[in-house]
């Protein structure tokens, strides 16, 4: 499989409108899609409970949320496969709530790819071009040329005449993407597009998706349940929680300033303590944690410290004045490439995770069940109140 880097021809995507590069902070950004208080319930149970969001043109947006948070429902409502119970959906400035799916001009890549099983790879990709209601391409030469370009762009050369039942998962994924992109939508919705692929391929496809999107200048709304995928891919990350947008921010902000303890929990990189602020400390089940870090307003009080901001010291080491210190017993460590994650149990039975980057320190051997001091700077903690 040739990688995208091999397709250096800048004309690869010339069929697509040229758009300026990454948006500059402060410039006027038009939103291609706006959601206003979108509601949807299934037999009385709300799946979307008032979604508000704006997606800017020519950007990569990830939609992160736990299973059952309404991600698929939201995409289906935007695409028009399901009707919202209330709210407004504006696409390119126009209300589209009552327009049927085929008139919306929004592409959709399904988790199971949903390729046309009776057509070959090339026929699948050509399908939209020659069959769409608006502006169908009747000249078979033009269709063939566009299909050829697209096959090159997504790296499927040589598989044109293969039946789609006879190609691998990653290749199906590319066909699904190519089939949508060739019709030049201004937005593409992707429902866990990498979910069916193995870990190796998933990592490679991440980069390719980003490159392909940049070349075509479309907006991608990429649904994922994986926080690493969401943070790695999205220029903007939307966090969906129980049918509501809990936060909308760029990956850096989201990672360092989650808007609530729930968002911090989805990010899977914070130790979170419940409790309440009292005086100059946070009263938690493991004791008083001195304040001094960022205070954020959110509904529920909580104290959060990122895995990679914690140092592990011998038990007898004292904490400096600007540090918070708790004690815990070591359980196990897990290597994950460039980092090592160590797990501790606190006195109340809670699990506490510490991530140590191996570039910072040589891996230490900790003794099982032995007690250690876990220390972090006061200012690194997030306090929600």
């Amino acid at each position: 499989m040739p990688s995208l880097a091999a397709f250096a021809r800048p004309a690869d995507c010339e069929a697509f409108r040229e758009k300026s590069g990454p948006e500059l902070v402060g410039t006027e950004v038009t939103s291609v899609l706006q959601l206003k208080n979108v509601h949807k319930a299934f037999s009385g149970v709300p799946a979307l409970a008032g979604v508000d969001a704006a997606l800017s043109e020519n950007s990569y947006v990830s939609l992160l949320g736990p299973s059952g948070s309404g991600k698929t429902t939201l995409l289906r409502v935007i695409a028009g496969f399901d009707q919202p119970d209330g709210g407004e959906i504006l696409f390119a400035g126009k209300r589209i709530d009552s327009i049927p799916p085929h008139e919306r001009g929004i592409g959709f890549v399904f988790q199971n790819f949903a390729l046309f099983p009776h057509l070959s790879v090339a026929q699948n990709i050509a399908f939209g071009l020659s069959n769409r209601a608006v502006d169908p391409v009747t000249d078979t030469k033009i269709v063939a040329a566009k299909v050829r370009d697209m096959i090159g762009l997504v790296g499927l050369s040589g598989l044109e005449d293969r039946a789609v039942t006879q190609i691998s998962g990653g290749q199906k994924q590319r066909v699904a993407l190519a089939r949508t992109l060739v019709t030049e939508p201004s937005m593409v919705l992707l429902d866990e597009p990498l979910g069916a692929l193995d870990a190796n391929l998933r990592t490679r496809m991440r980069g390719e998706l980003r490159t392909i999107r940049e070349r075509c200048g479309v907006t991608f709304l990429h649904v994922t349940g994986s926080e690493t995928e969401a943070l790695a891919m999205g220029d903007t990350v939307l966090v969906l929680d129980r049918g509501r947008i809990a936060q909308s921010a760029d990956a850096g902000t989201l990672y360092s300033r989650p808007a609530s303890a729930d968002v911090a929990r989805f990010l899977n990189c914070y130790n979170i303590f419940p409790g309440a602020v009292s005086g100059d400390a946070f009263e938690s089940p493991v004791g008083r944690l001195a304040l001094g870090g960022t205070r954020l307003t959110s509904g529920k009080q909580a104290y959060a410290i990122r895995y990679d901001r914690v140092a592990i010291r011998p038990r007898d080491a004292a904490a400096a004045g600007d540090e918070v210190r708790i004690e815990a017993s070591f359980v196990a460590s897990e290597y994950s490439g460039a980092a090592i994650n160590s797990f501790f149990t606190l006195d109340d039975g809670r699990v506490f995770e510490v991530e140590t980057h191996l570039s910072h320190a040589a891996p230490e051997a900790f003794e099982e069940k032995a007690r250690y001091a876990l220390v972090w700077k006061r200012e690194d903690a997030l306090v929600f109140d």
Binding site: A114, V134, R162
Partner: protein, 281 residues
């Protein structure tokens, strides 16, 4: 002992099944080669001959046995079966398509449709005759009988298509819509090719059920008889082996029909495989 015992039992059962399934047909086939015109519809075979086949096509010298009065009945039955097949299949596909979405009263409508194949045929035929009389409508095979055939075979086509749609992944249609293709064109270009094997089965059902429908047609067809009625009519006089010869020919026709079905089915199913094989070669 147990395993071989079960095997023996199953083998015996299968043999019995085959004997009862094809036995009557085999005997019919053998007796159709009886010598004519003096040979009768029973064993022993006096002498082998193809006399009754020739008799069927009027190729024998005139004798006391009249030719089977089935020529027109055969044409009528074939026409009726084709008409019924087309209408029932179209109705079955569209009705099943409608049932893919729950709508108000869908439960009632479902049972109303299925009722058409459940109610006793004789009663429906009789009822149709009475209705036609009351309303002053002439009974014809292409009118009253045709309607009953559709009412009878449509539920079969409907149920076949319902089962097909049950296993159909609707996301391929949604994918087509999201590419800007209208629902009507999506049905023609995506849905229909994918459900085509089911449509073939529905057609086969409707055709064969209509072709040898007897009880409903008996009262509803008026004076021009369909094939099953015409054959039954000859029985009430005297049975000659020419009926058997005709039966053999009909069976051959059925096999041809099944063969066509199998070929079409194979073509639509194996298309993808063929592409793959070319790929490897």
């Amino acid at each position: 002992m147990n395993a071989s015992g079960i095997k023996l039992g199953l083998g015996f059962y299968t043999a019995l099944f085959i004997v009862f399934l094809y036995g009557p047909l085999a005997i019919l086939a053998v007796l159709s080669f009886q010598i004519g015109p003096e040979g009768g519809p029973q064993f022993p075979i006096i002498e082998w001959s193809t006399y009754w086949y020739k008799h069927l096509f009027g190729l024998t010298p005139p004798s006391r046995i009249a030719p089977l009065p089935i020529e027109q009945a055969l044409v009528r039955s074939l026409a009726l079966a084709v008409m019924t097949m087309i209408v029932s299949t179209v109705l079955g596909v569209t009705a099943a398509q409608a049932f893919r979405k729950k709508f108000r009263g869908s439960g009632v409508v479902f049972y109303l449709i299925v009722l058409g194949m459940m109610v006793p045929g004789v009663l429906v035929g009789l009822g149709m005759a009475l209705v036609a009389n009351t309303l002053g409508i002439d009974r014809h095979w292409w009118g009253t009988a045709f309607v009953l055939h559709v009412v009878y075979t449509f539920p079969f086509a409907f149920l076949v298509m319902l089962a097909i749609f049950n296993r159909f992944d609707p996301s391929v249609e949604e994918a087509a819509w999201s590419l800007g293709v209208t629902p009507a064109r999506t049905f023609r270009k995506v849905t229909f090719p994918l459900i085509f094997p089911g449509v073939l089965s529905a057609m086969l059902f409707a055709f064969t059920l209509s072709y040898d429908e007897f009880s409903r047609t008996l009262f509803a067809s008026g004076r021009d008889l369909t094939l099953p009625l015409a054959i039954y009519g000859t029985f009430s006089v005297e049975v000659h082996p020419n009926v058997f010869a005709f039966g053999v020919l009909t069976t051959l026709f059925s096999f041809a029909l099944l063969g066509t079905y199998a070929v079409l089915m194979g073509l639509s199913v194996r298309r993808a495989k063929r592409v793959a094989i070319q790929e490897e070669a």
